[in-house]
């Protein structure tokens, strides 16, 4: 069975007025289905860029990215959008909720772009996702009326609603107090236990400790890739090429 994600010699450079700024210098990495992996690194190390490429929001300059056994190099914008709509989802540090929309409307949003879920079933899916983060009683609230921790749980419900193969969490506790942050990480932990693959991008050691595997990135290269002592998952196939 192929890995969920396989990266080989991945490079990424940005060009500004023909000035090249290299961010990733050749990343080799494999991630299997069901893993809870944290990508750590200092600011500017390239961890967010790596997440954007893995989440099909950006493209590598060179190297190979294989997703579910398929090379993604030849895919056009619509193909990548289709993968984002059905296979991956995101939880952002800034939540990115629509402030004038209700919790339910925010969670319904990804279903507008999901071709496999009928319109009539959308609300059922959304309410199920909201219930799974414990916010059923807030479904009719405007997202602007929620606390930071609740907002992030709504963002997690939104990420869950399409039942994606992979969830990216980009500094999910960065804007939260420690109690709310803990709640959010516990929700992510539960999701992983339920079979969701989670890639966590963070610079906080305590947050990263929730993951089974921690990949350190520095200056666009993987510095280390270690399994967590705390929560090593039986059978997780962790490799560093």
């Amino acid at each position: 069975m192929p890995s969920l994600i396989s990266l080989s010699g991945l490079h990424k450079s940005y060009f500004n007025d023909e000035v090249e700024t290299a961010v990733l210098h050749g990343i080799d990495l494999e991630i299997d289905t069901g893993e809870f992996i944290a990508i750590m690194g200092p600011s500017g190390s390239g961890k967010s860029t790596l997440m954007h490429i893995l989440g099909f929001l950006d493209r590598p300059t060179a190297g190979t990215y294989t997703f579910l056994g398929e090379n993604t190099a030849g895919k056009n914008d619509d193909d990548l959008a289709a993968i984002r709509a059905t296979k991956v989802s995101f939880v952002f540090q800034a939540f990115h909720l629509l402030p004038r929309a209700t919790v339910l409307e925010n969670v319904l949003l990804p279903l507008l772009y999901h071709p496999g879920i009928a319109s009539i079933d959308r609300e059922k899916y959304a309410r199920k996702a909201i219930a799974s983060v414990g916010l059923s009683d807030r479904a009719g609230f405007l997202s602007s009326q929620l606390s930071g921790g609740q907002k992030q749980r709504v963002a997690i419900a939104r990420a869950l609603v399409t039942e994606p193969a992979l969830i990216f969490a980009d500094e999910p506790t960065g804007n939260l107090d420690s109690a709310s942050g803990l709640q959010v990480m516990e929700v992510l932990e539960k999701l992983n236990a339920a079979g969701h693959t989670i890639i966590l991008v963070t610079h906080e050691r305590t947050t990263a400790e929730f993951a089974d595997r921690i990949v350190h990135i520095k200056d666009g290269l993987i510095e280390s890739d270690t399994s967590s002592h705390k929560r090593r998952k039986a059978g997780a196939d962790v490799k560093l090429k």
Binding site: D77, A85, F90, H96, L112, Y113
Partner: protein, 409 residues
């Protein structure tokens, strides 16, 4: 993304920004509203004039004393002495003229006891009733016998009858005009307005009596019916009057004549040109207002795209294709203009209806009319404005980079 979802998203976005949406669509509301209003008033006026023209028939002609002014304006002189009764005797001999009826205005007022009417007093030849297709609602019209023996009879318009007699029967009763009394022999059927004059507020006296009373040797104006072709009759009348009045006018310069001949066909032609002018005017107003409204919408949509950059990034992260974003913002722009167009339509029709109620107070034949082609064209133009002025902001939104958009502060 399904089209139904795109539409729902568009209207939801407008609802969430209801204040801004309302102000943005105001230009379109005013533009479409004014077009619908003007086209409705135009259609109503056209109906009024057409009904008056058709009620007179295509062979009806009127000669006024006076002259045509530069630029096509007419100057009618009711007291001018250019149309003499000798002219009328000669006109009667023209084979192209069927019936001719001179009219002499008399000074009023008409009175019955203490009741007084401001009605127009007209000394008319009996042919007048034939030319105007008039009939009596009560009693009879004035006839040739009355005229020949200069009988002191009066025929009342229904408004005068109401004013002087109320509900009582006027037949056989006396009224006075000036210092003379007249016996009422009939009441005419209601005519309503003729060329914006109340034709029911008149008292008719035989022409012979009016001439005796006023001593007038000229007609205030003349009505005629042509036997066949209006064009030939028109040329004959013009030629005869120029000959008798010694007017050299080989180039048919209407300013040189001391009379004006008007026909229902001419009125039709004038109406057509007025209609065309009105249509061009409405189109210009619509074009300008939709252009201004469209520029306003483009500005607001560009601001909206900038404001919602992070939302665009989020939608892309959630799987929206560039096409989905483009259609969503285009739909918002079209929803703005179409909603504005529909509100303008209702607003314009409402105002046209109110105006119709007001005008009906003094012009009973004026009816509220709707110009469906103008209404449909106005709303379609509004929708097209939304597409044209919405495309640039929508393209900008669809081309935004998702990563950059999510980072936008």
């Amino acid at each position: 993304m399904k089209y139904s979802d795109i539409l729902t998203s568009a209207f939801t976005a407008l609802r969430r920004n209801i204040g801004r949406s309302t102000l943005t669509m105001l230009g379109i509301v005013i533009g479409v509203g004014s077009v619908v209003l003007m086209s409705s008033v135009g259609a109503s006026m056209e109906k009024v004039i057409l009904s008056q023209i058709s009620s007179l028939g295509s062979k009806s002609m009127v000669i006024f004393p006076g002259s045509n002014q530069e630029g096509g304006a007419s100057q009618v002189f009711a007291g001018h002495d250019s149309l003499t009764f000798e002219d009328i005797e000669h006109l009667e001999k023209l084979t192209t003229i069927d019936t001719i009826a001179p009219i002499v205005f008399m000074p009023g007022p008409a009175k019955r006891g203490r009741e007084e009417s401001s009605a127009q007093i007209m000394g008319v030849h009996p042919n007048f009733f034939h030319n105007q297709k008039m009939s009596a609602a009560q009693g009879r019209l004035l006839d040739a016998h009355d005229n020949d023996r200069a009988a002191r009879f009066a025929l009342l318009g229904p408004d005068v009858k109401e004013e002087l007699f109320g509900q009582s029967d006027p037949l056989g009763k006396e009224i006075t005009v000036g210092d003379r009394s007249y016996t009422v022999v009939g009441v005419t059927k209601a005519l309503g307005s003729q060329f914006f004059q109340n034709a029911d507020d008149r008292v008719y006296i035989s022409l012979s009596v009016a001439r005796q009373v006023t001593g007038q040797k000229y007609a205030s104006y003349i009505t005629m019916l042509a036997t066949d072709s209006f064009d030939v009759a028109f040329a004959h009348v013009e030629g005869l009057l120029r000959y008798r009045h010694k007017i050299e006018n080989p180039k048919n310069d209407p300013e040189k004549d001391d009379f004006i001949v008007r026909s229902s066909e001419q009125a039709n032609a004038i109406l057509s040109s007025v209609s065309l002018g009105l249509t061009l005017f409405i189109t210009t107003v619509a074009g300008i207002s939709l252009l201004v409204g469209g520029i306003g919408i483009m500005n607001i949509m560009l601001v909206t795209v900038t404001e919602r950059t992070r939302e665009i990034g989020l939608r892309k992260a959630l799987g929206a294709r560039p096409r989905d974003i483009l259609l969503q913002f285009l739909a918002e722009s079209v929803a703005l203009t179409v909603t504005g167009g529909m509100i303008g339509l209702i607003f314009g029709l409402g105002l046209a209806w109110i105006i119709a109620q007001i005008i009906q107070g003094f012009l009973s034949t004026y009816l509220f009319a709707i110009s469906f082609p103008s209404m449909i064209a106005a709303v379609l133009m509004a929708a097209l404005t939304g597409v044209i002025f919405g495309i640039s902001p929508a393209r900008k939104a669809s081309s935004l980079d998702p990563v950059e958009s999510l980072r936008y502060e």
